[in-house]
C-alpha cells in the first residue's frame, strides 16, 4: 500500500468516510461494466466465443446492471459526501448508513454471482423471486428489489433526518425531494403481469423517470456542489440555476416519457405528447452547458481541481450531445418507427449514460481524492498530470468511437432491416450481415479497447494522484 502514499481518513468527516466506501465499490463495478461490455461486443464479431458458457444475454445483463449500480453507488456516495457540509451537522444515524452499505454491497455480489452461475430458471414465479426478473435494466430478482428499497430508505432517512436537524439548503431540499421520487418510482417496477403492454408501461416509469428525470436532477445537485467546490461559484448562483434546471428537466422529462409509449400498445395520443415533450428535453441540457461554461469563464478557468473541472465540463457537453442531441435525433415518432430497437438506441444509450452520468461521477472521484490526500494542490503542474489527461482523452475518444460505430450500424439497420425488409427474421439478419454493420461492430470493439485502457489509467491515476504533493490547494476564492 505504500505505493499509494498516505490516504488519511482524518481528512474526512463521518459522511465522507462512508462515501469513499461507496465510491470504491462504484469504481470496481465500473470496471466490471467495461469488461462485460467488451465480452458482449466481441460476441458480435465471434458468435461462438463463450457460447453456452457466458452467452450474450448474460454478458449484456451484467454490463448494464453493473452500470446502473455503479452510478447509483456513485450518487449515494456523493450525497453522503456533501451531507455534513451542506447541513452543518454530523449525519444522523450514520451507524445505520454504514451497516446498510455492507448489506447493499453483499446483496450486489450475491445477485451478480447468481447471474453468472445460475443464469436462467424455469418459467415459474420462483425464478423471478430468486434468480432474475428478466426485464432489461431491472433484471435483479424480487428479493433484491425489496432489499434495494430497504437500503435506499435508510439512505433517505440519513439525508432527511440530517437536514431536518441541521439546516436546509437549496441543494439539500432538491436532493431530499429527488430521493423520494427516485425510490418511489423504483417500486413501480415490482410486480408481475402477463400483459406485456402494461408491463412495459410501468417498466418505463422506472427506467425513463429515473434516467431522464430524477438522475438528471441528482446530477444537477452534484454539479451545483462541484462548481461551488472547484470554482468557488456562489451558492446563490448555483441554487438559482438548480431550480431552473429542475423546472425544465421535470417539465420536459416527465411527459417526455411518451416517447417510450409510441409502439407498446398504448394509445395514439402518446405519439404527439411524446414527440413534443421529448423535443423539449435537450433544453435543460443546453442550460447546464451554459451554466458550467459561463461560471468557468467568469473565473477565467481558475479552479482548485483541474481533473475535476475537466470532467465537469466533459459532463456538460457529454450530457448535451449524448442525452440531448443523440436522443433528439431519433425521438420523433416518424423517425423512431425506423430506429426503435436498433443500434441507434445503443449508440444513444452509450453516449448518454457516459456523457451524463459517468463523467460527473469521475469528476466527483477527483474532488474526493483531493480532500482525502489532505486538500492538496490539484491545479496546474501536477506531478504525473499526464495520467488524468491521457485517461480523459482515451475514455472520451473511446466512447465517441464506440458511439459512431454503433450509429453507422444503426443507420444501416434502419434502412435495410426496418425500412426495406420490414423487421422480419430474414430482414434482421440481412442487416446484421451487411458489411457496414459488421464494420461498425468491429470499430466499436476497437474503441471499446481504447476505453478500457482509459479506465485502467483512470484507476491508476485516482489511486496515486496527489501522493507526493506537498503544496496546499488553491483556494476556491482565488487565493492560496
Amino acid at each position: 500500500m505504500t505505493a499509494l502514499g498516505k490516504l488519511d481518513s482524518a481528512n474526512l468527516n463521518g459522511g465522507q468516510k462512508l462515501a469513499v466506501k461507496y465510491f470504491s465499490v462504484a469504481l470496481v463495478l465500473f470496471g466490471a461494466q467495461v469488461a462485460f461490455g467488451l465480452l458482449a461486443g466481441l460476441q458480435y464479431l465471434m458468435p461462438d466465443f463463450l457460447y453456452g458458457v457466458l452467452d450474450f444475454s448474460i454478458n449484456r445483463m451484467v454490463h448494464i446492471n453493473a452500470m446502473v449500480v455503479w452510478m447509483l453507488f456513485g450518487f449515494i456516495g456523493s450525497v453522503y459526501w456533501m451531507l455534513e457540509e451542506e447541513s452543518g451537522i454530523p449525519i444522523v444515524g450514520l451507524k445505520f448508513g454504514n451497516l446498510i452499505f455492507w448489506i447493499f454491497t453483499l446483496a450486489v455480489l450475491v445477485v451478480v454471482a447468481v447471474y453468472l452461475l445460475i443464469q436462467v430458471g424455469p418459467g415459474e414465479q420462483s425464478t423471478i423471486w430468486l434468480i432474475t426478473e428478466g426485464r432489461e435494466y431491472i433484471e435483479a430478482p424480487r428479493w433484491a428489489d425489496i432489499g434495494i428499497v430497504v437500503c435506499v430508505l435508510t439512505v433517505f432517512y440519513n439525508v432527511a433526518a440530517t437536514f431536518a436537524k441541521g439546516k436546509w439548503t437549496g441543494i439539500g431540499g432538491v436532493l431530499t425531494l429527488d430521493m423520494i421520487a427516485l425510490f418511489a418510482i423504483y417500486m413501480a417496477g415490482m410486480f408481475y403481469t402477463a400483459n406485456i403492454s402494461i408491463d412495459q408501461y410501468w417498466w418505463w416509469w422506472v427506467i425513463h423517470l429515473w434516467v431522464e428525470a430524477t438522475w438528471e436532477v441528482m446530477v444537477g445537485c452534484i454539479m451545483a456542489y462541484g462548481l461551488m467546490t472547484v470554482l468557488g461559484t456562489s451558492r446563490k448562483i448555483v441554487e438559482t440555476w438548480l431550480y431552473i434546471e429542475v423546472a425544465m428537466m421535470f417539465g420536459s422529462g416527465i411527459l417526455g416519457i411518451g416517447h417510450h409509449y409510441f409502439w407498446i400498445g398504448t394509445p395514439e395520443y402518446w405519439l404527439s405528447i411524446g414527440g413534443f415533450f421529448s423535443a423539449l428535453e435537450p433544453i435543460p441540457l443546453v442550460a447546464m452547458v451554459v451554466h458550467a461554461v459561463f461560471d468557468s469563464g467568469v473565473n477565467k478557468m481558475r479552479n482548485t481541481n483541474h481533473p475535476a473541472m475537466g470532467w465537469l465540463i466533459a459532463q456538460a457537453f457529454g450530457n448535451f450531445f449524448g442525452a440531448g442531441v443523440w436522443g433528439f435525433m431519433h425521438t420523433l415518432p416518424q423517425i423512431n418507427l425506423y430506429t426503435h430497437g436498433t443500434q441507434w438506441s445503443a449508440s444513444h444509450g452509450h453516449l448518454a449514460f457516459f456523457g451524463a452520468y459517468a463523467t460527473i461521477n469521475i469528476a466527483f472521484f477527483y474532488i474526493v481524492m483531493q480532500k482525502w490526500r489532505g486538500n492538496v494542490w490539484m491545479s496546474g503542474g501536477l506531478f504525473g498530470g499526464w495520467k488524468w489527461k491521457w485517461s480523459m482523452l482515451l475514455l472520451n475518444l473511446g466512447m465517441v468511437g464506440m458511439t459512431i460505430g454503433m450509429l453507422v450500424a444503426g443507420y444501416e439497420q434502419s434502412q435495410i432491416e426496418r425500412a426495406i425488409e420490414g423487421s422480419t427474421w430474414s430482414g434482421f439478419f440481412a442487416a446484421q450481415s451487411h458489411v457496414w454493420f459488421q464494420q461498425g461492430m468491429f470499430w466499436r470493439e476497437v474503441f471499446g479497447g481504447m476505453f478500457a485502457v482509459g479506465y485502467i489509467l483512470l484507476v491508476w491515476d485516482l489511486l496515486t494522484i496527489g501522493k507526493r504533493e506537498t503544496r496546499a490547494a488553491l483556494s476556491a476564492s482565488g487565493k492560496r
Binding site: 458468435p47 431550480y243 407498446i264 400498445g265 415518432p333 427474421w425 439478419f429 450481415s433
Partner: protein, 197 residues
C-alpha cells in the same frame, strides 16, 4: 450577483420548479389512468388472451396509414380451443418463461430489449416459419433446442435454455397473443407469413 430582477430570482425559479413538476405529474397520472383502461387485456388495442383461438393477421389500414393487427376466423392454437381463463393461464406461463430465460437481453419485445437477435413483436407472423401448417410445431421445437438449427449465415445462434415442452408451447401462445396488440404500425412494412394455404 446583485441583480434583483424577478426572472433571475431564486424564489421565482423555486416556485416555478415546484409548479411545473406538480403539473406535469398530475397530467402523467391522469394519462396513466386513461392508458391503463385502454391497454388492459380485452380492449380494442390489447385483445383478450383468448384471441389465440383465432387467426391473427397484420394488414395495412388506409385510414390510419399503418399496418394493424386483424383478428380473423377461428384457428385455435395447437388445434385446441381454450376458454378465456385457460388462455390467460397459458399466455401468462409463456410470458413468465420469457422473463425466466431472459429473452429480452438478446431479443426485443415490442421493440424493447437488446439488439443481438430479431424482434419478437410479430414473431408469430414471421415468414421464416414457412407455412401455417408447420409453424406451431416448428416454433416449439426451435424454442426447446435452437442450438443445432440453422438461424442465419452469421453463425450467431440461440443457446439451449432448458425450456420444457410445456413452457415452449406457452411461449408460442404468448407470442401469438403479442402479435395481436395494436402497436401503432410498428414494425412497419412487415411482410407476414402467408396464412391462406
Amino acid at each position: 450577483m446583485t441583480t434583483s430582477t424577478w426572472w433571475a430570482s431564486e424564489t421565482f425559479w423555486r416556485k416555478t420548479a415546484i409548479w411545473v413538476t406538480a403539473g406535469s405529474l398530475v397530467v402523467l397520472i391522469v394519462l396513466t389512468f386513461d392508458s391503463m383502461a385502454q391497454i388492459s387485456a380485452g380492449t380494442k388495442r390489447v385483445p383478450a388472451y383468448s384471441v389465440i383461438n383465432n387467426r391473427i393477421e397484420y394488414k395495412y389500414d388506409e385510414q390510419r396509414h399503418a399496418q394493424v393487427p386483424v383478428i380473423g376466423k377461428e384457428e385455435p392454437l395447437f388445434g385446441k380451443k381454450l376458454t378465456e381463463q385457460e388462455a390467460e393461464a397459458l399466455v401468462s406461463k409463456g410470458k413468465l418463461t420469457t422473463q425466466a430465460k431472459n429473452c429480452m437481453d438478446c431479443h426485443t419485445l415490442l421493440g424493447n430489449g437488446a439488439y443481438y437477435a430479431p424482434d419478437l413483436t410479430k414473431a408469430w407472423l414471421d415468414p421464416f416459419w414457412g407455412s401455417r401448417a408447420a409453424r406451431e410445431e416448428l416454433m416449439v421445437e426451435f424454442i426447446k433446442d435452437p442450438s443445432t438449427r440453422l438461424h442465419n449465415g452469421l453463425g450467431r445462434r440461440m443457446p439451449k435454455l432448458g425450456v420444457t415442452d410445456e413452457e415452449a408451447r406457452a411461449v408460442v401462445a404468448f407470442l401469438k397473443w403479442m402479435s395481436s396488440i395494436d402497436t401503432n404500425g410498428f414494425p412497419t412494412n412487415f411482410k407476414p407469413l402467408d396464412q391462406e394455404n
